[in-house]
Protein backbone atom coordinates (compact mmCIF):
# COMPACT_ATOMS: atom_id res chain seq x y z
CA UNK A 1 0.00 0.00 0.00
CA UNK A 2 1.56 3.28 -1.16
CA UNK A 3 0.80 6.19 1.15
CA UNK A 4 1.64 9.64 -0.16
CA UNK A 5 1.73 12.67 2.14
CA UNK A 6 1.87 16.08 0.47
CA UNK A 7 3.14 18.83 2.76
CA UNK A 8 5.85 18.84 5.43
CA UNK A 9 4.26 21.12 8.02
CA UNK A 10 2.89 20.16 11.38
CA UNK A 11 0.03 18.00 10.13
CA UNK A 12 1.99 16.15 7.46
CA UNK A 13 5.01 15.53 9.70
CA UNK A 14 3.05 14.24 12.69
CA UNK A 15 0.97 12.07 10.37
CA UNK A 16 4.03 10.59 8.67
CA UNK A 17 5.83 9.85 11.93
CA UNK A 18 2.76 8.45 13.67
CA UNK A 19 2.04 6.21 10.67
CA UNK A 20 5.65 5.06 10.41
CA UNK A 21 5.53 3.87 14.01
CA UNK A 22 2.17 2.12 13.61
CA UNK A 23 3.26 0.47 10.34
CA UNK A 24 6.81 -0.42 11.35
CA UNK A 25 6.32 -4.07 10.46
CA UNK A 26 4.57 -3.33 7.17
CA UNK A 27 7.27 -0.83 6.14
CA UNK A 28 9.97 -3.44 6.85
CA UNK A 29 8.19 -6.16 4.92
CA UNK A 30 7.35 -3.90 2.02
CA UNK A 31 3.60 -4.24 2.52
CA UNK A 32 3.40 -0.46 2.97
CA UNK A 33 5.40 2.53 1.73
CA UNK A 34 5.27 6.10 3.01
CA UNK A 35 6.42 8.96 0.80
CA UNK A 36 6.39 12.63 1.79
CA UNK A 37 6.67 15.45 -0.73
CA UNK A 38 7.37 18.98 0.43
CA UNK A 39 8.27 22.30 -1.13
CA UNK A 40 11.05 22.82 1.46
CA UNK A 41 13.86 20.90 3.14
CA UNK A 42 13.15 22.90 6.29
CA UNK A 43 10.38 22.60 8.87
CA UNK A 44 9.22 25.88 10.39
CA UNK A 45 7.75 26.25 13.88
CA UNK A 46 5.15 28.83 12.91
CA UNK A 47 4.05 29.90 16.43
CA UNK A 48 7.61 31.16 16.90
CA UNK A 49 6.96 33.91 14.38
CA UNK A 50 5.17 36.01 17.03
CA UNK A 51 8.29 35.86 19.23
CA UNK A 52 10.55 36.79 16.29
CA UNK A 53 8.24 39.76 15.66
CA UNK A 54 8.68 40.87 19.27
CA UNK A 55 12.45 40.43 19.26
CA UNK A 56 12.28 37.49 21.67
CA UNK A 57 13.41 34.72 19.34
CA UNK A 58 15.87 34.74 16.46
CA UNK A 59 14.60 33.63 13.08
CA UNK A 60 17.00 30.70 12.82
CA UNK A 61 15.41 29.15 15.89
CA UNK A 62 12.24 28.62 13.86
CA UNK A 63 13.72 25.92 11.65
CA UNK A 64 14.94 22.33 11.72
CA UNK A 65 15.87 20.13 8.78
CA UNK A 66 12.71 18.30 7.78
CA UNK A 67 14.59 15.04 7.21
CA UNK A 68 15.93 15.12 10.79
CA UNK A 69 12.37 15.04 12.13
CA UNK A 70 11.22 11.98 10.18
CA UNK A 71 11.17 8.35 11.31
CA UNK A 72 13.30 5.88 9.36
CA UNK A 73 11.34 4.33 6.55
CA UNK A 74 9.71 7.56 5.35
CA UNK A 75 10.83 8.46 1.81
CA UNK A 76 11.16 12.24 1.85
CA UNK A 77 11.64 14.36 -1.27
CA UNK A 78 11.83 18.11 -1.72
CA UNK A 79 9.74 18.10 -4.88
CA UNK A 80 6.55 20.14 -4.72
CA UNK A 81 3.40 18.76 -6.30
CA UNK A 82 2.10 20.71 -9.29
CA UNK A 83 -0.74 18.47 -10.43
CA UNK A 84 -3.16 16.42 -8.35
CA UNK A 85 -4.96 13.66 -10.29
CA UNK A 86 -7.20 12.25 -7.58
CA UNK A 87 -9.33 10.26 -10.05
CA UNK A 88 -6.22 8.49 -11.33
CA UNK A 89 -4.46 8.18 -7.97
CA UNK A 90 -1.32 10.07 -8.88
CA UNK A 91 0.40 13.44 -8.60
CA UNK A 92 2.92 15.17 -10.84
CA UNK A 93 5.72 17.18 -9.32
CA UNK A 94 7.95 20.09 -10.24
CA UNK A 95 10.79 17.75 -11.24
CA UNK A 96 8.49 16.07 -13.76
CA UNK A 97 8.05 12.85 -11.78
CA UNK A 98 4.73 11.09 -11.34
CA UNK A 99 3.98 9.53 -7.96
CA UNK A 100 1.27 6.87 -7.85
CA UNK A 101 -0.46 6.19 -4.58
CA UNK A 102 -3.10 4.05 -2.92
CA UNK A 103 -3.79 6.65 -0.25
CA UNK A 104 -2.99 10.37 -0.40
CA UNK A 105 -3.11 12.97 2.35
CA UNK A 106 -2.93 16.64 1.40
CA UNK A 107 -1.51 18.77 4.23
CA UNK A 108 -0.30 21.83 2.36
CA UNK A 109 -1.36 24.46 4.88
CA UNK A 110 -2.42 28.06 4.27
CA UNK A 111 -0.91 31.50 3.57
CA UNK A 112 -1.71 35.07 4.47
CA UNK A 113 -2.86 37.16 1.50
CA UNK A 114 -2.69 40.82 2.59
CA UNK A 115 -2.51 41.76 -1.10
CA UNK A 116 -6.21 40.85 -1.43
CA UNK A 117 -7.23 44.01 0.45
CA UNK A 118 -6.35 47.19 -1.49
CA UNK A 119 -3.59 49.10 0.29
CA UNK A 120 -3.12 46.57 3.08
CA UNK A 121 0.16 44.87 2.17
CA UNK A 122 2.10 48.10 1.72
CA UNK A 123 0.60 49.93 4.70
CA UNK A 124 0.60 47.34 7.46
CA UNK A 125 2.78 44.86 9.31
CA UNK A 126 1.98 41.23 10.14
CA UNK A 127 3.66 38.17 11.65
CA UNK A 128 2.87 35.45 9.14
CA UNK A 129 6.21 34.92 7.37
CA UNK A 130 9.83 35.15 8.52
CA UNK A 131 10.34 38.30 6.48
CA UNK A 132 7.12 39.85 7.75
CA UNK A 133 8.05 39.02 11.37
CA UNK A 134 11.52 40.54 11.00
CA UNK A 135 10.02 43.64 9.42
CA UNK A 136 7.45 43.74 12.26
CA UNK A 137 10.23 43.92 14.85
CA UNK A 138 12.14 46.61 12.95
CA UNK A 139 8.96 48.66 12.73
CA UNK A 140 7.89 48.44 16.37
CA UNK A 141 11.47 48.90 17.51
CA UNK A 142 11.61 52.27 15.75
CA UNK A 143 8.01 53.36 16.43
CA UNK A 144 8.09 56.65 18.29
CA UNK A 145 4.47 56.70 19.40
CA UNK A 146 0.93 57.09 18.17
CA UNK A 147 -2.15 55.01 17.53
CA UNK A 148 -1.69 51.33 16.78
CA UNK A 149 -4.70 49.74 15.11
CA UNK A 150 -5.14 45.98 14.94
CA UNK A 151 -7.30 44.83 12.01
CA UNK A 152 -8.36 41.22 11.38
CA UNK A 153 -9.27 39.42 8.15
CA UNK A 154 -11.28 36.22 7.77
CA UNK A 155 -10.31 33.42 7.69
CA UNK A 156 -6.89 33.47 9.34
CA UNK A 157 -4.68 30.89 10.98
CA UNK A 158 -3.92 31.02 14.68
CA UNK A 159 -7.18 32.42 16.09
CA UNK A 160 -5.38 33.63 19.22
CA UNK A 161 -3.11 35.99 17.33
CA UNK A 162 -5.40 39.06 17.55
CA UNK A 163 -5.52 39.12 21.39
CA UNK A 164 -1.90 37.94 21.65
CA UNK A 165 -0.72 40.80 19.44
CA UNK A 166 -2.70 43.27 21.53
CA UNK A 167 -1.38 42.13 24.89
CA UNK A 168 2.22 41.59 23.83
CA UNK A 169 2.41 44.95 22.06
CA UNK A 170 0.93 46.66 25.11
CA UNK A 171 3.68 45.15 27.27
CA UNK A 172 6.37 45.84 24.64
CA UNK A 173 5.74 49.58 24.70
CA UNK A 174 5.03 49.82 28.41
CA UNK A 175 8.30 48.09 29.20
CA UNK A 176 10.05 50.79 27.16
CA UNK A 177 8.34 53.55 29.13
CA UNK A 178 6.21 54.48 26.13
CA UNK A 179 2.83 53.60 27.64
CA UNK A 180 1.67 57.21 27.55
CA UNK A 181 2.82 57.68 23.93
CA UNK A 182 1.15 54.60 22.43
CA UNK A 183 -2.54 53.82 22.22
CA UNK A 184 -3.95 50.54 20.91
CA UNK A 185 -7.28 50.26 19.07
CA UNK A 186 -8.47 46.71 18.35
CA UNK A 187 -10.96 45.84 15.63
CA UNK A 188 -12.60 42.47 15.04
CA UNK A 189 -14.90 41.06 12.33
CA UNK A 190 -17.80 39.80 14.48
CA UNK A 191 -19.91 41.40 17.18
CA UNK A 192 -17.56 40.65 20.09
CA UNK A 193 -13.82 40.77 20.74
CA UNK A 194 -13.10 37.15 19.81
CA UNK A 195 -14.70 34.16 18.11
CA UNK A 196 -14.66 32.28 21.44
CA UNK A 197 -17.19 33.93 23.74
CA UNK A 198 -15.34 33.13 27.00
CA UNK A 199 -12.16 34.61 25.52
CA UNK A 200 -14.09 37.69 24.34
CA UNK A 201 -15.56 38.20 27.82
CA UNK A 202 -12.15 37.84 29.42
CA UNK A 203 -10.62 40.27 26.90
CA UNK A 204 -13.16 42.98 27.79
CA UNK A 205 -11.86 43.24 31.32
CA UNK A 206 -8.23 43.04 30.19
CA UNK A 207 -8.80 45.80 27.62
CA UNK A 208 -10.46 48.05 30.22
CA UNK A 209 -7.49 47.63 32.58
CA UNK A 210 -5.07 48.60 29.84
CA UNK A 211 -7.07 51.35 28.18
CA UNK A 212 -7.28 49.43 24.89
CA UNK A 213 -10.22 50.67 22.79
CA UNK A 214 -12.12 48.50 20.33
CA UNK A 215 -14.62 48.34 17.50
CA UNK A 216 -16.39 45.13 16.55
CA UNK A 217 -18.23 44.21 13.34
CA UNK A 218 -15.25 45.57 11.40
CA UNK A 219 -14.15 43.71 8.25
CA UNK A 220 -11.35 45.42 6.31
CA UNK A 221 -12.32 46.72 2.89
CA UNK A 222 -9.39 48.96 1.94
CA UNK A 223 -6.48 50.90 3.39
CA UNK A 224 -5.69 54.48 2.37
CA UNK A 225 -1.96 54.84 2.98
CA UNK A 226 -1.90 58.59 2.29
CA UNK A 227 -4.63 59.41 4.80
CA UNK A 228 -3.59 56.51 7.07
CA UNK A 229 -7.08 55.17 7.48
CA UNK A 230 -8.51 51.65 7.22
CA UNK A 231 -12.10 51.39 6.00
CA UNK A 232 -14.52 48.56 6.69
CA UNK A 233 -17.17 46.76 4.69
CA UNK A 234 -19.59 47.91 7.38
CA UNK A 235 -19.01 51.57 6.47
CA UNK A 236 -16.69 52.77 9.22
CA UNK A 237 -13.23 54.30 9.05
CA UNK A 238 -10.39 54.13 11.58
CA UNK A 239 -7.26 56.32 11.62
CA UNK A 240 -3.91 54.76 12.43
CA UNK A 241 -0.26 55.64 12.86
CA UNK A 242 0.69 51.96 12.71
CA UNK A 243 -1.57 49.29 11.23
CA UNK A 244 -1.03 45.74 12.52
CA UNK A 245 -2.85 43.32 10.26
CA UNK A 246 -4.03 39.77 10.76
CA UNK A 247 -4.65 39.30 7.03
CA UNK A 248 -7.20 36.94 5.55
CA UNK A 249 -5.71 33.64 4.36
CA UNK A 250 -6.09 31.24 1.47
CA UNK A 251 -4.96 27.69 0.89
CA UNK A 252 -1.88 27.13 -1.24
CA UNK A 253 -2.02 28.12 -4.89
CA UNK A 254 -1.52 24.53 -6.05
CA UNK A 255 -4.78 23.55 -4.35
CA UNK A 256 -6.68 26.34 -6.12
CA UNK A 257 -5.01 25.76 -9.49
CA UNK A 258 -6.00 22.09 -9.34
CA UNK A 259 -9.61 23.02 -8.53
CA UNK A 260 -9.54 21.10 -5.27
CA UNK A 261 -11.38 23.81 -3.39
CA UNK A 262 -12.41 27.46 -3.66
CA UNK A 263 -9.72 29.73 -2.18
CA UNK A 264 -7.66 26.59 -1.57
CA UNK A 265 -10.00 25.15 1.07
CA UNK A 266 -10.58 21.45 0.32
CA UNK A 267 -14.04 20.05 1.20
CA UNK A 268 -13.58 17.12 3.58
CA UNK A 269 -15.75 15.09 5.95
CA UNK A 270 -15.21 16.67 9.35
CA UNK A 271 -14.95 13.33 11.16
CA UNK A 272 -13.28 10.99 8.69
CA UNK A 273 -11.24 13.73 6.96
CA UNK A 274 -11.66 12.21 3.50
CA UNK A 275 -11.96 14.57 0.56
CA UNK A 276 -15.56 14.68 -0.68
CA UNK A 277 -16.08 12.09 -3.38
CA UNK A 278 -12.95 10.10 -2.50
CA UNK A 279 -12.42 7.22 -0.08
CA UNK A 280 -8.63 7.12 -0.50
CA UNK A 281 -7.84 10.85 -0.53
CA UNK A 282 -7.68 12.88 2.68
CA UNK A 283 -6.80 16.39 3.79
CA UNK A 284 -5.77 17.72 7.18
CA UNK A 285 -4.69 20.99 8.74
CA UNK A 286 -5.34 24.51 7.47
CA UNK A 287 -6.19 23.46 3.93
CA UNK A 288 -9.51 21.80 4.79
CA UNK A 289 -12.84 23.61 4.63
CA UNK A 290 -13.90 22.27 8.03
CA UNK A 291 -15.42 25.09 10.11
CA UNK A 292 -12.73 24.72 12.77
CA UNK A 293 -9.74 26.73 13.97
CA UNK A 294 -6.88 26.92 11.51
CA UNK A 295 -4.30 26.07 14.14
CA UNK A 296 -1.33 23.79 14.63
CA UNK A 297 -3.16 21.83 17.29
CA UNK A 298 -6.03 21.13 14.89
CA UNK A 299 -3.55 19.70 12.41
CA UNK A 300 -1.88 17.75 15.22
CA UNK A 301 -5.05 16.06 16.48
CA UNK A 302 -6.40 15.46 12.97
CA UNK A 303 -3.09 13.82 12.06
CA UNK A 304 -3.28 11.49 15.06
CA UNK A 305 -6.82 10.40 14.23
CA UNK A 306 -6.04 9.94 10.54
CA UNK A 307 -2.83 8.02 11.22
CA UNK A 308 -4.79 5.55 13.29
CA UNK A 309 -7.34 5.22 10.49
CA UNK A 310 -4.83 4.81 7.67
CA UNK A 311 -2.91 2.24 9.69
CA UNK A 312 -6.12 0.28 10.25
CA UNK A 313 -6.97 0.58 6.56
CA UNK A 314 -3.63 -1.12 5.87
CA UNK A 315 -4.03 -3.74 8.58
CA UNK A 316 -7.75 -4.55 8.51
CA UNK A 317 -9.05 -2.72 5.46
CA UNK A 318 -11.14 -0.05 7.19
CA UNK A 319 -10.92 3.04 9.40
CA UNK A 320 -11.71 2.75 13.11
CA UNK A 321 -12.29 6.20 14.60
CA UNK A 322 -13.56 9.69 13.97
CA UNK A 323 -11.71 12.95 14.54
CA UNK A 324 -13.66 14.57 17.35
CA UNK A 325 -12.85 18.19 16.56
CA UNK A 326 -10.25 18.58 19.30
CA UNK A 327 -8.35 21.89 19.34
CA UNK A 328 -5.97 23.23 21.99
CA UNK A 329 -4.65 26.78 21.79
CA UNK A 330 -2.41 28.66 24.17
CA UNK A 331 -3.27 32.33 24.66
CA UNK A 332 -0.37 34.62 25.57
CA UNK A 333 -1.83 37.37 27.76
CA UNK A 334 1.21 39.65 27.78
CA UNK A 335 4.86 39.05 28.50
CA UNK A 336 4.58 36.59 31.38
CA UNK A 337 1.08 35.16 31.71
CA UNK A 338 -0.94 32.79 29.56
CA UNK A 339 -4.05 30.69 29.48
CA UNK A 340 -5.47 28.18 26.98
CA UNK A 341 -8.66 27.17 25.21
CA UNK A 342 -9.42 23.49 24.65
CA UNK A 343 -12.59 22.26 22.92
CA UNK A 344 -14.03 19.77 20.43
CA UNK A 345 -17.19 19.43 18.35
CA UNK A 346 -19.27 18.65 21.44
CA UNK A 347 -17.58 20.51 24.28
CA UNK A 348 -17.11 24.28 24.28
CA UNK A 349 -13.96 25.96 25.63
CA UNK A 350 -13.77 27.15 29.25
CA UNK A 351 -10.53 29.13 29.59
CA UNK A 352 -9.28 29.94 33.09
CA UNK A 353 -7.59 33.20 34.17
CA UNK A 354 -4.01 33.52 32.86
CA UNK A 355 -1.14 32.35 35.03
CA UNK A 356 2.63 32.59 34.95
CA UNK A 357 2.99 28.82 34.99
CA UNK A 358 0.96 28.47 31.81
CA UNK A 359 3.13 31.11 30.16
CA UNK A 360 6.21 29.08 31.11
CA UNK A 361 4.55 25.94 29.81
CA UNK A 362 4.06 27.76 26.48
CA UNK A 363 7.72 28.81 26.56
CA UNK A 364 8.66 25.18 27.20
CA UNK A 365 6.36 24.07 24.39
CA UNK A 366 8.26 26.34 21.97
CA UNK A 367 11.00 23.71 22.33
CA UNK A 368 8.84 20.66 23.10
CA UNK A 369 7.14 21.27 19.74
CA UNK A 370 9.95 19.39 18.02
CA UNK A 371 8.97 16.29 19.99
CA UNK A 372 5.38 16.79 18.83
CA UNK A 373 6.53 17.07 15.22
CA UNK A 374 8.33 13.75 15.62
CA UNK A 375 5.06 12.21 16.80
CA UNK A 376 6.39 11.68 20.34
CA UNK A 377 4.27 14.20 22.27
Amino acid sequence: MKILIVGGGMGGTILANNLARRLKGELSSGKAHITMLSASDKHMYQPGLLYVALGRMSADELYRDQASLLEPGINFHVDPVEEFNLDNNNVKTKSGKTYDYDIIVIATGSRAVPENIPGLAENSINVYTEQAALNFYQTINSFEGGRIVIAVGVPHKCPMIPPELTFTLYDFFNDRGMGDKVSIHYTYPIGRLHALEPVANWMQGEFATRGVTSETLFNMKEVDGDKKVVRSEEGSEVEFDLLVAVPAHKGMEVVESNNLGASGWIPVDKKRLNIEGHDNAFAIGDTTNIPISKAGSTAHFEAEALAENIASMVKIGQPVRDYDGKVFCFIEAGKDKATYAMFNYNNPPDPKPPTKSLHWFKMAYNNLYWASARGLL
Binding site: P159, A195, L217, G235
Partner: protein
Protein backbone atom coordinates in the same frame (compact mmCIF):
# COMPACT_ATOMS: atom_id res chain seq x y z
CA UNK B 1 -30.79 30.94 -11.20
CA UNK B 2 -29.39 31.80 -7.73
CA UNK B 3 -27.26 29.10 -6.18
CA UNK B 4 -27.50 28.14 -2.54
CA UNK B 5 -24.58 26.57 -0.71
CA UNK B 6 -24.65 25.18 2.81
CA UNK B 7 -22.14 25.96 5.54
CA UNK B 8 -22.53 23.27 8.18
CA UNK B 9 -21.17 25.04 11.25
CA UNK B 10 -22.85 22.80 13.81
CA UNK B 11 -20.42 22.16 16.66
CA UNK B 12 -18.18 24.98 15.45
CA UNK B 13 -16.88 27.06 18.38
CA UNK B 14 -13.92 28.72 16.73
CA UNK B 15 -14.01 30.55 14.46
CA UNK B 16 -17.76 29.96 14.68
CA UNK B 17 -20.75 30.25 12.35
CA UNK B 18 -20.65 34.00 11.76
CA UNK B 19 -16.97 34.03 10.82
CA UNK B 20 -17.56 31.03 8.56
CA UNK B 21 -20.31 33.06 6.86
CA UNK B 22 -18.04 36.11 6.48
CA UNK B 23 -15.35 33.91 4.91
CA UNK B 24 -17.84 32.01 2.77
CA UNK B 25 -19.67 35.03 1.39
CA UNK B 26 -16.45 36.17 -0.31
CA UNK B 27 -16.52 32.99 -2.39
CA UNK B 28 -20.01 33.26 -3.88
CA UNK B 29 -21.51 35.50 -6.55
CA UNK B 30 -23.87 38.43 -5.95
CA UNK B 31 -27.39 37.04 -5.85
CA UNK B 32 -26.31 33.63 -4.56
CA UNK B 33 -27.18 32.39 -1.11
CA UNK B 34 -25.52 30.70 1.83
CA UNK B 35 -27.44 28.62 4.36
CA UNK B 36 -25.61 28.49 7.68
CA UNK B 37 -26.41 25.60 10.02
CA UNK B 38 -25.57 26.38 13.62
CA UNK B 39 -26.04 24.59 16.93
CA UNK B 40 -25.45 27.92 18.73
CA UNK B 41 -28.60 29.87 19.56
CA UNK B 42 -26.56 33.10 19.42
CA UNK B 43 -26.25 32.72 15.66
CA UNK B 44 -29.92 33.59 15.20
CA UNK B 45 -29.10 37.12 16.34
CA UNK B 46 -25.33 37.43 15.64
CA UNK B 47 -25.67 36.61 11.97
CA UNK B 48 -28.57 39.00 11.21
CA UNK B 49 -26.76 41.75 13.16
CA UNK B 50 -23.75 41.53 10.81
CA UNK B 51 -25.79 40.91 7.66
CA UNK B 52 -27.93 43.99 8.29
CA UNK B 53 -24.93 46.17 9.14
CA UNK B 54 -22.97 45.23 6.03
CA UNK B 55 -25.97 45.34 3.72
CA UNK B 56 -26.64 41.74 2.62
CA UNK B 57 -30.08 40.18 2.99
CA UNK B 58 -31.51 37.66 5.46
CA UNK B 59 -33.73 35.34 3.43
CA UNK B 60 -34.88 33.21 6.36
CA UNK B 61 -33.96 32.46 9.99
CA UNK B 62 -35.52 29.29 11.42
CA UNK B 63 -34.83 26.66 14.06
CA UNK B 64 -35.48 22.94 13.84
CA UNK B 65 -34.52 20.32 16.41
CA UNK B 66 -31.93 22.57 18.04
CA UNK B 67 -30.30 23.57 14.75
CA UNK B 68 -30.60 27.12 13.44
CA UNK B 69 -30.87 27.55 9.66
CA UNK B 70 -30.05 31.07 8.52
CA UNK B 71 -30.14 31.81 4.79
CA UNK B 72 -28.24 34.87 3.60
CA UNK B 73 -28.27 36.36 0.11
CA UNK B 74 -25.18 38.24 -1.10
CA UNK B 75 -26.32 41.62 -2.41
CA UNK B 76 -23.04 43.42 -3.11
Amino acid sequence: MAERKVIDARGSFCPGPLMELIAGIKLIEIGDELEVLSSDKGSSSDIPEWVNKVGHEIVSNTEEDGVWHIVVRKTK
